[in-house]
Amino acid sequence: MKAIATLTLLALVAGCLLALLQLFTADRIEQNQRDAEEQILAGLVDSTDPEILREQGIELVNAEIRGYGGTMKILVAFRAEEILGVRVLGHGETPGFSEVLKPNDWIGNFEKQSVDEVDAVSGATITTNAVIRAVKDSVRGRKDSNP
């Protein structure tokens, strides 16, 4: 009985403490995340404002897919029918293997080749296949929504 009471009390205190800290840090963490995303997109588009992008004929499509270490947040930029580029906004892939997701690495292939030509990277097969699948899905999704 004492065991249950102690654990419950401890968990309660810990939970409250974390919730309190979350209140103070949530805004800053979100701001950091947004800054990081903007930095990732910097080489691809001039702005993340949908109005400005529409004038340039660019459309950003968000996709989420399961990689090797959890969900990856992927963003595909389209100009008219072609893919302008692909960026990964967030992921939980293994350090080292996630190098392929950096803008100047493998993921830049989407800017040079068509989706069907892009190959997975051996050693990081699950990660890269997931990205390819997400990009193909978003291409198909776009075709379905504006036929």
Binding site: T6, L18, I29
Partner: protein, 206 residues
């Protein structure tokens, strides 16, 4: 054992990384440059010192049979706090070592210290010991990070961090040499045990 002795014990004599060989996974994974090494050192120190303090404070209220869940809960709480603070105020370093900050929860250095010291001794003793231990760990991280960053600069064509096992291996060999530990073990002469055989024999004869 005095407090100073305990501090030096954690820092050098019984250093977690070089003598007990605990917590090597995050240590080797992160110490490829000084910035990351310092990031992990600060996070580990924070978690170790505050968990020890809290657990030592409530050691009499924690029932023996559920002490491990309690320890892990406290350590996990402080790890999450470190994780949140780093995300808010040290985003760049955090992005590099995120995974290794999260697995501080399972660092044997911390659980071992909490189990063997913090749950048995008073707050002052356990905090001082925790500080010595954490500083010892941080020192190894810092030195290893420095050497490996230098090695990385000197190694052409290196795309991945270099030299983790070689550097720690050579460092351990040097430290053992300085402490006078030979490959066969301690060089100190073993204490002469009293010879019981004669007595046993006499008893047998009687």
């Amino acid at each position: 054992m005095t407090l100073t002795q305990r501090f030096i014990d954690g820092l050098w004599t019984r250093n977690v990384a070089t003598t007990q060989l605990l917590g090597l996974c995050p240590l080797l994974a992160v110490s490829y440059n000084v910035q990351n090494a310092v990031g992990l050192a600060v996070a580990s120190t924070f978690v170790l010192v505050f968990s020890s303090c809290l657990i030592s404070l409530f050691r009499k209220g924690i029932p023996e049979n559920i002490r491990l869940p309690c320890f892990v809960l406290v350590i996990a709480t402080f790890t999450t706090i470190a994780h949140m603070i780093m995300q808010a105020y040290a985003w760049d370093v955090y992005q590099q070592i995120a995974l290794f900050v999260q697995i501080i929860v399972t660092n044997c250095m911390i659980l071992g210290h909490v189990e063997s010291v913090a749950s048995k001794k008073d707050v002052k003793t356990s905090v001082v010991t925790a500080m010595g231990t954490a500083l010892g760990f941080s020192l190894v991280l810092f030195v290893l990070g420095g050497i490996r960053q230098l090695l990385g600069l000197l190694t052409p064509f290196a795309t991945q961090p270099v030299g983790s096992f070689f550097v720690i291996g050579i460092a351990l060999a040097m430290i053992n040499y300085l402490k006078g530990i030979s490959p066969q073990g301690c060089t100190e002469e073993p204490q002469d045990e009293p010879d019981y055989t004669q007595q046993n024999y006499e008893r047998f004869v009687q």
